[in-house]
Amino acid sequence: MIKFLNPSYVFHLTGKILNFVKIFIIPITIIGIILSLFASPKDYIQGDAARIMYVHVPSAWISLLCFALISFFCILSFIFKIKSVSLIYKSLAPIGLTFNFIAIFTGSLWGQPTWGTWWAWDARLTSMLVLMFFYIIFIFSYKFISNPQKSSKICTSISVLGLTNLVIIKYSVNWWSTLHQPSSINLIGETTVHFSMLIPLGIMLFAFLLYTALIFLMKYRIETIRVKKKGLKKL
């Protein structure tokens, strides 16, 4: 575990994995787009508007996953005082924010033809917007607070608070009466999405995860070089 948190080891690993990701990302994305836009069937109620799902759902999932990982690494860094962990959460935050923006924007584009409105102050939508604010505050905290200890403490507090918001996002459709539909894909319960739609959705999710890995690896290299650049003065 400690080996995987060692920046030198991870930096070396990023170079290798980056090339691997670069080979697969474009063909998988193209296959995913073709299946989503042309090969998958229309929804029997929403028609072609349901195709927005193929970018909206993976984006929302990845934005939640990124914040959950950020919280995990912040807590890990806070408890065990491992400085190098900050490189991981600093690399994850901009990716999470981008996918959060995509999820909200595409959700709005999906809302207009299905609900007749671009936006509603519904529990799911509002909690996703709150997540965006958490991301922004989190990024500002490590960018503008120069004291590393203080920045780490603030980042951990924000991520723990944000973690409660993740629970609210997940259960908002069950706890309140919302315009947003309840989840159709469940790992434990019944999945109500047909197999013909699940395949393109799965491929798009995989493509988005590859993209997340690509940006994460590049960001990790950026953060490591920043630290090494500061170290040059101490040589």
Binding site: I33, A49, F105, I215, T224, L232, L235
Partner: protein, 75 residues
Amino acid sequence: MNLNVFLMNDYGIYVWSSFLVTFLACLFLFLKTKKTLKKLEKDFIKETQILSQQQFENLKKQKVAKEILASHSRT
């Protein structure tokens, strides 16, 4: 050619906009990250050039620095 494939029964504007915005946001983040990475690598190399021979030898013992220097010499 069947235009309805693109018009998607008048939902095309919403569907295509969604895919386009997603693509543009991802492309923007990728290009911005790539630019920053290249710039930082260049700056790092520049700063190593003003080091003394002894400092440079010490730097070359560090795995990360060695890899950045190696990747720069390849490009």
